[in-house]
């Protein structure tokens, strides 16, 4: 009994997708995930395969079609919004609406699940905000308006907001889509750092396959036919990555640990 592993996120027989009037549209089915805490997970798959749908289902933005999702052994559909907001925080790709928020105010919003009805910040809240600023190396930006920041800086500030929310799980939807290679690697190493040092569970949907292979503890692969999850090294070893794209242009090279252009393809 005592050595039973407790998982951060568990899914059983999960089907994700949309319900229309006539019939449900299944995006992916039979997803069985058992994820331990403190891991960096990269969710890989081609465009339109359903990565965002999966993340939205895990964060209760849309309901599961079938099966269950457990967050720390509690069924997701029984968690109230406010309870869920203390377990999972998110960093989204969507553009922020224009406003006069400062970096400090933006990060402070992450404390909302813990503050009183009017949102008053106490000493503990301020500590968490300052901690988040330090961990993301953004303290010097504190008093700037967020619209004055570069994309790279803004990404770090949004990560700081998620950190201030003080959740065990942080979910990122394509966090490096707008970033150059320097800021992409900076972001990924920050995420790795959060998992290793602060025992956060980080789930990232991304197209940065090479970086994922180097840094991720686990991979979730969404392929056209099935869903594969497992440790990165194991998946490389058993050729699972080849199923990611049913493409006649590229193939996965095990020794190089990256996708290369098929020798047979001519341009």
């Amino acid at each position: 009994m005592g050595n039973e592993i407790s998982y951060c996120i568990t899914t059983q027989n999960l089907s994700i997708g949309y319900t229309t009037k006539d019939q449900p549209i299944v995006v992916a089915s039979n997803l069985n995930i058992q994820l331990e805490g403190g891991k960096l997970v990269c969710l890989l798959g081609k465009n339109g395969i359903g990565k965002s749908t999966l993340l939205r289902t895990l964060t209760k933005v849309q309901p599961a079609l079938k099966g269950t999702v457990l967050i720390k052994d509690k069924p997701l559909n029984l968690l109230k919004n406010i309870e869920l907001s203390r377990e999972i925080s998110v960093v989204l790709t969507e553009k922020l609406p224009e406003s006069n928020l400062t970096v400090f105010e933006l990060i402070a919003l992450g404390r909302q699940p813990y503050t009183n009805w009017i949102g008053k910040l106490d000493v503990n809240d301020l500590d968490k905000i300052n901690e988040a600023l330090e961990q993301t190396n953004t303290t010097h930006l504190k008093h700037k308006f967020y619209y004055q920041l570069s994309d790279g800086q803004l990404q770090k500030v949004l990560i700081a907001r998620a950190l201030a929310q003080d959740t065990a799980i942080i979910i990122f939807d394509e966090p490096t889509a707008h970033l150059d290679i320097h800021h992409t690697i900076e972001t990924f190493s920050l995420l790795k750092n959060l998992a290793v040092k602060f025992n956060k569970t980080i789930i990232v949907s991304t197209h940065e396959i090479n970086l994922s292979l180097q840094l991720a503890d686990e991979l979730w692969l969404m392929t056209p036919t099935n869903f594969i999850c497992g440790e990165t090294a194991t998946l490389i070893e058993n050729n699972s990555l080849d199923q990611l794209f049913d493409s006649n242009l590229i193939e996965f090279n095990k020794t190089l640990k990256q996708f290369i252009i098929k020798p047979s393809s001519h341009f």
């Binding site: 919004n81 907001s85 999972i88 609406p97 928020l101 933006l106 949102g119």
Partner: protein
Amino acid sequence: MPYKIIFPALVVTLILLFFINLSLGSVLIPIKQVFIALINGEVDKDSWKLIVLNYRLPKAITAIIVGAGLSISGLLMQTLFRNPLAGPFVLGISSGASLGVALLILGSSFLGANLTLYGLSVWGQALAASIGSFMVLLAVMAAATKVRNTMSILIIGLMFGSFTSAIISVLAYFSSANELQQFMFWSFGSLGNISWSQIIVLMVVFLFSFVMVLFILKPLNSLLLGENYAKSMGVNIKITRNVTLISTSLITGVITAFAGPIAFIGLAVPHLTKLVFTTSNHKILMPAVAISGAILMLICDSIAQLPSSEFTLPINAITSLFGAPVVIWLLLRKRKLIY
């Protein structure tokens, strides 16, 4: 902290303008005499006391409530819909009120019923306007449960607006010159002719909505990051949206009922305030917007009285005439519209 300077300055300006507003009008009453009249003392001329207490005081109080109420409505709409064009007018709530009054005044002959008697009374108009705005609100809310996207609700509100104004045009086409004139006067807007009992109704509704809004200041702040982020921080979007819609339509409905459809304030005051305060924090913006709205309304009313002349201009014309250029000028200077 600059807020500690700006807020007292605004309050002092408001109080000053309140007394200036009481002193200006067709007859100029010295501010000292206004004071004496207010504390029920001996005034130089008996008529002055009558004018101040029975005419100008209720008008000034109405101006403050109308300005503050419409501005808060505008602020709430702009945050909820994340759209700089949002305001009580855009949701169709004001148009609903207009439709109610139009049906009462213009529709009486059209529908064959003899409603003229009710049409003439201010309470009849107020009731009709409130029912009208509430009906449109119910329709918008019903649509809101079906449509999740707030942008769609905004467009639905706009459609309701054009729908109601189309009906008003039809009614106007078939009604008599007399009825038309009466409706036109209502639609010009007026802060005068409001009794103390109406002011009490205005105040109660305003305070009730104000208290409701206090409880959604926190979720409104998180909505600045968009609905998805707000949800992830535990905000109940549905409740926040409904509280916003209900309090907005209550304030707008009652104000429009008593004072007519007053344009521009709800849309412009939040923009002006945000340009001055450069913050999006609703805990600061809400009182700031309320005070600025009251100030602007008092100024507009003072101008509308055309001091020392016998004429009074429609308040609706003044708010747009003097307000719109101010917003344009501010935007040209700052080049950025924040909502």
